[in-house]
Symmetry: C2
Subunit: 383 residues, 2 copies
Amino acid sequence: MSQQSSTAPGPDGHGDRQCDRSGQRRATVVDVAQRAGVSTATVSRVMNRNYPVAAATRERVEAAMRELGYVVNAHARALAGTSARTVGIIVSELIDPFYAYIARGVEREATDGDRLCLVCCTQGDPQRELAFIELMHERRADAVVLVGGSVEDRAYKAELARRARELDAGGSKLVLCGRPSLGDGVPTVGVEYDNEGGAFAITDHLITQGHERILYLGGPPGLSTARDRLAGHRRALELRGIARDRELEQPGAFSRAFGYRRMTELLREGLEFTAVFAANDIVAAGAAQALEEAGVRIPLDMSLVGYDDIPVAQDLRPRLTTVRIPLEEMGRQAVRVALNGGDEDDWRAPTTGTLRLGTHIVVRESVAAPRSTLPGSARPRRS
Amino acid sequence: MSQQSSTAPGPDGHGDRQCDRSGQRRATVVDVAQRAGVSTATVSRVMNRNYPVAAATRERVEAAMRELGYVVNAHARALAGTSARTVGIIVSELIDPFYAYIARGVEREATDGDRLCLVCCTQGDPQRELAFIELMHERRADAVVLVGGSVEDRAYKAELARRARELDAGGSKLVLCGRPSLGDGVPTVGVEYDNEGGAFAITDHLITQGHERILYLGGPPGLSTARDRLAGHRRALELRGIARDRELEQPGAFSRAFGYRRMTELLREGLEFTAVFAANDIVAAGAAQALEEAGVRIPLDMSLVGYDDIPVAQDLRPRLTTVRIPLEEMGRQAVRVALNGGDEDDWRAPTTGTLRLGTHIVVRESVAAPRSTLPGSARPRRS
DNA sequence: CTGAAAGCGCTAACAA
DNA sequence: TTGTTAGCGCTTTCAG
């Protein structure tokens, strides 16, 4: 306990406001106004530069602000009516380049629009996601960007829809970035990329090189992102008249560990295939390691492709042929679309609009024609 | 132009508050209180669970909140006295794993403490950094974490000190995470890692393997981080009685491109050395590529080490021996230290405290004894 | 061009 | 256990 046990403002009532532990209460508009000999309205006006103020007055006010070390209170400002100038972004993991690039786009676009960015990581937990949306709503974020694939759960989607409506009612927008819409009735905006098309294109690329037995590896079956990639893969197979083989579809985590482990197992089991389509570059990196350790050479003995085109694709040897997604651009568009959706002039602008960006394959060195069409050619050397 | 040219709230004045574009004004405590037949104070109490409320009352209030789709206004709350429950983090680049891992630590610790995280990227521009600190101060962040090396500019440091004082006066803290203190007079807290020590250790490791001509590559001379690493390197050399060779110190950007380019040039010029200490793993990756293209084998013809131990260190072949920094832990400690620094019970707690975490080398496969002690052994094959 | 005053939505004494 | 009420710091009509 300190010597002065009372926590009240002091025996002198509330007249003296200079006394504080830091010796100096934070300056407010009132202080600035007093010091400059003007009203608070004028102080506000010089800060916001939205009304004419005499040059002399302005200078006095600015001097006062400087001398007092005045820093506006964004909360008071937000309360008083202006927007909070904040956009929220929710990702599952910041250190995953897929999310990091999108986050970068969001952050830059936000900054360019004079806004600050609230960032949350769900670590893949849908419940956290919901909670974070709520928290951002409390902060009156101008937009909340939800990034990446989502689980296909009805109850969860219903909750999401509720949050979307709440946000919308308050003038904010929920942005679905790289995930499917919640349905026509739900007021959200979306930015997608041609996920299915990219998968189609790269599988087709493999087929064109002569591959028929293509292993599809990784991608959580419950995740929308993974589902679409697999769909594109299947469509390409079908279109080229290649029968689907259940053994060649090996979904799993979007992780390096999964790619490594499953590939190792498959190689050991002797499953036959001449090419691998990893559901993303991370999985591809794991698969590449397994291949390397098994003595299978890429692309000589085995072709390998990934998805996303994150930096690791260029770090691998050989460099990975993969599908490029305009990650950063998606982030930028996410906030743009959310902030212009509520345009003043078109009163009845469609509240649910989805922007769709293209994907394309990036050909590097991890694909070649199959060594031979004879089965078994891709088998690892037995030690 | 729309049909209605007036932007005023409408002909009906401001009496009616139910009329809005979204058809429904946001619910407030007053609405909830009315609906539940209680006072706003009670509503506040059920939200904050910090005062006893009769179970029945509580239920009525909660029902009302649900029915109205009530979401507290964090700004009003912050204005009314409670903290904004926000911590800010400023990094130069989110997609750089070094920063991303620290950011992850900050985000997690913030979340664990029921706070949200404001994130800004300076892209290496000190002016932006200053501006962002200000913006976070306006938002009344409980702490502002500044991550990574800083430029050694006097005017800039003075500005930083001013901001630190302002923040401190308002009860917040500026946290220097992985960068040097601003001096004793300035109220900041810090979390560092043993940067110099790590560099010393890994250079010593190289020397122990028999290397004497070690190339130090990358690291902007003006950046504190780079300065300390070079210092550690020199100290190890000196301690082992190896004369410093100016040609072997090749500072530069912390980038893959620099590592690649400079290494290519050096190899072409025929500079003699048997090992490379890249100022960070990214530079090492670039150097590795240059080495590979020149036909120089790692570690047979040349040893290579990096710094940071980010994922790329494990993706390289051979895997990179490097210095591990407790990145995520630094982020966590940054917010912990900031939030406990202002403890109530020790009135005169040192306002400037620095926590120092250790580093250690991670030995992988990129180092071997030099092939021969004869000069020229590391030369690339001429094409 | 400037001032007075009414809130914005919430919390926290203080009183009951 | 609950209600009353006075702000928190800023913006914004509405009047000079």
